[in-house]
Structures are given as C-alpha cells and as structure tokens.
C-alpha cells in the first residue's frame, strides 16, 4: 500500500473532511463536531437522509440476527438507535452496551433510551481504537455511521475483532460510494450544497454538516473497506450495498479462536 493517511506512523497529518490536520488533532475536531450537533442530531439525521436511515438501520438489525441471551456492543452508538432495538432482542438474559467517544452524544443517547423505557443498560465512553473490554466478550459488535470519524480505522477494526467471541460478527454501517455515476452526481449536489444549508437552518451549524459531507467522501469505498476488514482478521466478509451504494453494510466474522 502507498501512503496511508490513517496510519499515524506513515504521516503526521490525517484528513478532517477535506482538510489535512495533525493526527493528534483529528479526534478533538471530531469531538467538537459531535458535541455541537448532539442535541439536534436525530432531527438532522431524519432530514439528511430523508428518513431512509431508519431503513438502513433496520437492515443492519435484521442482518445482525441478534438472539435472546447474546451480548452486543454498539460502538460509536451516539444517540442509541441500534442499541435500542438490540436491547429488545437480547432480552433479560442478554446485554447491550452503548459506547461512544463523545460524552454529549452519550448523554443524549442515555436520555432517549430512558424516554423510551429502555433502562439499565451500560453506557460507556470509549474510543473505538482502544475498546476497554475483555477479549472475546461479545457475540456481535456494530458501528453505525461511526467508522469514518475514527482516526485510525485499522486499529478500530482490530480492536473490534479482539472483543468478539469466536463465531461473532461485526457489522459496519457507513456511507459509501454510489454504484452509478448519475446517482453519484446528484448525491454530490445534495451533500455538498443542500446538507450544509440544512445544517445552517436546523442546527445553526453549517460547518459541522459540511464536515459530515466531506468525511463521507473521504471514507474508503466498499472494496477498500472490505480489504481492511480482511487485513484486520475478519473472515467471510460481505458487502451489502443499500440505496445504490450511498450506504453499505459490511459484515465480517471472527472465526478463529
């Protein structure tokens, strides 16, 4: 591989949207973005994806096939959409852990879970790159629209593999590369022009939403991410393109002990 901007050893800067920033700074900048959008995150989510994000999440939930009694970790879980569904599925014998690097997002998540009657699940501030959990402790790990914000994605993939039990699965839901050039163009217009505009009106925060649009474009495409998962040690990796590849779900398994 040539120059890898996500590898802190090969470069001293990394991308923050389309800008280059020192590696040490990306995490801080990402934190500012999410602290700034936390309170309106859900409204924006609906507006930004015109509600389709619910279907994308539904697909992840079905594909994860979580069973009663299982342990599930929702990494970069933010306001807890996936967590909430998994909590219903694991039942009283299982457990779902909501984690995120950002305290403001987690606070919103905790508040929403309580509002909806989901109580008693652990909520933990954690960096995806260095998950503070024992090896082989989860049946399923998910990261929804989170990986693109992580500075060292390879480290995050390795960390998520480490905490999976043998046979366990990782599901990554993330914006990806539209399969069709026409769609790609429309989508560009939408995300670079419309998104920041909506961000300004709804959240009074165009910059944060500009970052979101740019970070989507900088995220590895389907094939690259699949390769990264395989390099981290995941097996049976499969890509599921949704909405013409605007988002993709990647699933991989830890098969070896």
């Amino acid at each position: 591989m040539s120059h890898d901007p996500t590898d802190p050893k090969s470069a001293s800067t990394t991308h923050f949207g389309f800008q280059q920033v020192p590696v040490a700074e990306k995490q801080k900048r990402v934190a500012e973005v999410f602290s700034s959008v936390a309170r309106r995150y859900d409204v924006m989510n609906d507006l930004m994806s015109m509600g389709v994000h619910r279907l994308w999440k539904r697909f992840v939930i079905d594909l994860a096939g979580v069973r009663p009694g299982e342990r599930v970790l929702d990494v970069a879980g933010g306001t807890g959409d996936l967590t909430r569904e998994f909590a219903k599925q694991v039942g009283p014998r299982g457990q779902v852990v909501l984690s995120d690097i950002n305290a403001a997002m987690l606070g919103e998540g905790r508040r929403r879970l309580i509002d909806e009657g989901v109580v008693g699940l652990p909520v933990l501030q954690a960096n995806a790159e260095k998950l503070p959990f024992a090896d082989r402790s989860f049946d399923c790990v998910t990261i929804g629209f989170g990986l693109r914000n992580v500075t060292d994605k390879d480290a995050a993939l390795r960390s998520m593999l480490r905490v999976l039990k043998p046979g366990g699965r990782l599901l990554v839901l993330e914006f990806s590369k539209p399969l069709n050039a026409g769609l790609s163009k429309i989508y560009d217009q939408y995300s670079f022009k419309l998104l920041p505009l909506m961000g300004r009106f709804v959240a009074n925060d165009a910059d944060s939403y500009r970052y979101l649009a740019e970070s989507i474009r900088m995220h590895p495409d389907q094939g690259t991410l699949k390769g990264m998962m395989e390099a981290a040690g995941f097996e049976r990796c499969q890509v599921y393109n949704l909405t013409g590849g605007i988002v993709a779900v990647h699933r991989g398994f830890r098969l070896t002990a």
């Binding site: 389709v52 279907l55 994308w56 539904r58 697909f59 079905d62 594909l63 096939g65 069973r67 046979g167 399969l179 069709n180 026409g182 769609l183 049976r236 499969q238 890509v239 599921y240 393109n241 949704l242 909405t243 013409g244 590849g245 398994f253």
Partner: protein
Amino acid sequence: MSARPAPALICAGLEVALNRYLQLEPAALDDCAALARHSVGLLVDGFDWCLFIEFNARGVRVIGERPQPASVTLAGAPPAFAGLAVKLASGDSSLPPGLRVDGDADVLQAFRRLLGRVGFDIEEWIAPLIGGAAAHRAAQGLKALLGWGRDSSRTLAQNTAEYLVEETRDLARGIDVEEWMDQVDRLRERSDRIEARLARLERQRTAEPRSE
C-alpha cells in the same frame, strides 16, 4: 460457464428468512450446530448464481463467496429448486428431477431433514411468483422471489419487506439491477412451467404413498 456470487441482498434475504424459521425450533439449532463444519452450495442455472449456506449453533449464514468449495453442491434451474422445496414441505425427502448433486450426500440428507423439521414452507415463498400478478416491476420482483410482504406470512417480517421495497426502488437505477430484473422477468415467464410441475407434484403427493 462459471457462476457468480448471488447478489448480497438475495443472500441476506434468504439468511434472515431461514434463521427466522430455524429459531422457532430449538432442536433445529442443535442440528445446525452438528453441521457446523459443513456447508451446502447452491448453483442456480439461468441466473448463474452461486450461494453457500454455512451452519453454526445460531443457525445459518448465507454468503455468495467462500474460500473453500462446499461439502455438497446442488445445481439446477429455479423450478427444480422450487420442486425440491415443495417436496420438503410435504415431508418428501426425495430429490426432484432436474437437480444435480455433487459431494457429500450425508450432509445434504441432514440439511433436508433439518428443513423438514422446521416445516420450512417454501410454497409460501413461491406462490406469489407463480401467481404472477405484477405490480411495481422492481419491488414485486424481489418481494415475489423471496415471498415477503404477503399477508399470510407471519414468520417473515413486514419490516424486512419494507426496506427491500425501498431498496429495490432505488437500486433499480443501477445497471446490475436492470440486468437482474430482466432475469426476474424471464423467471416469471417460466412460471407456467413451474405451475405445471407443481400441479404434477401435487397429484403425485395425493396419489402415491410417500417414499422416504
């Protein structure tokens, strides 16, 4: 002609549906665990799709590619698979004509017993296909193929149908999907033949004693 991996969403649909059936029957999951080192490959003629069913204690995983060949491979045209499904649903574990088997017959036998045990009712899946009423071409193609969205299918989630309908609508813009939809159309054209075959199987089922 070499087969290509079946579309990921088809694999996902089959996996989610199979697992919903398997979960209804704890003993079926024990059977899956027992088959853990094995796999069943399906080669669908006409579409030139291959898919693999792998087993584990939680049920099955359906994927389009696999580093090693399957323990046993079933190959045939869609009507032959439909025939197999109808036979399984009626408790008949013999193979219908037109299905080629290559590999470990014991694994195949175990797989068929497993599906028989959970009362895997694929008629429910293919009835919309042979019923033939076409609404929205794209959405119905996929729904019909997988049998989602029928009022009677309690075990198959309506939610799932919902996103597949959405997805197919959007995906229908892609070239891949155009091609695939043409194949679905061709499949539908063959529905007369499936219907005839089903009627014949139906007659056999009532006329003959069951062969085990």
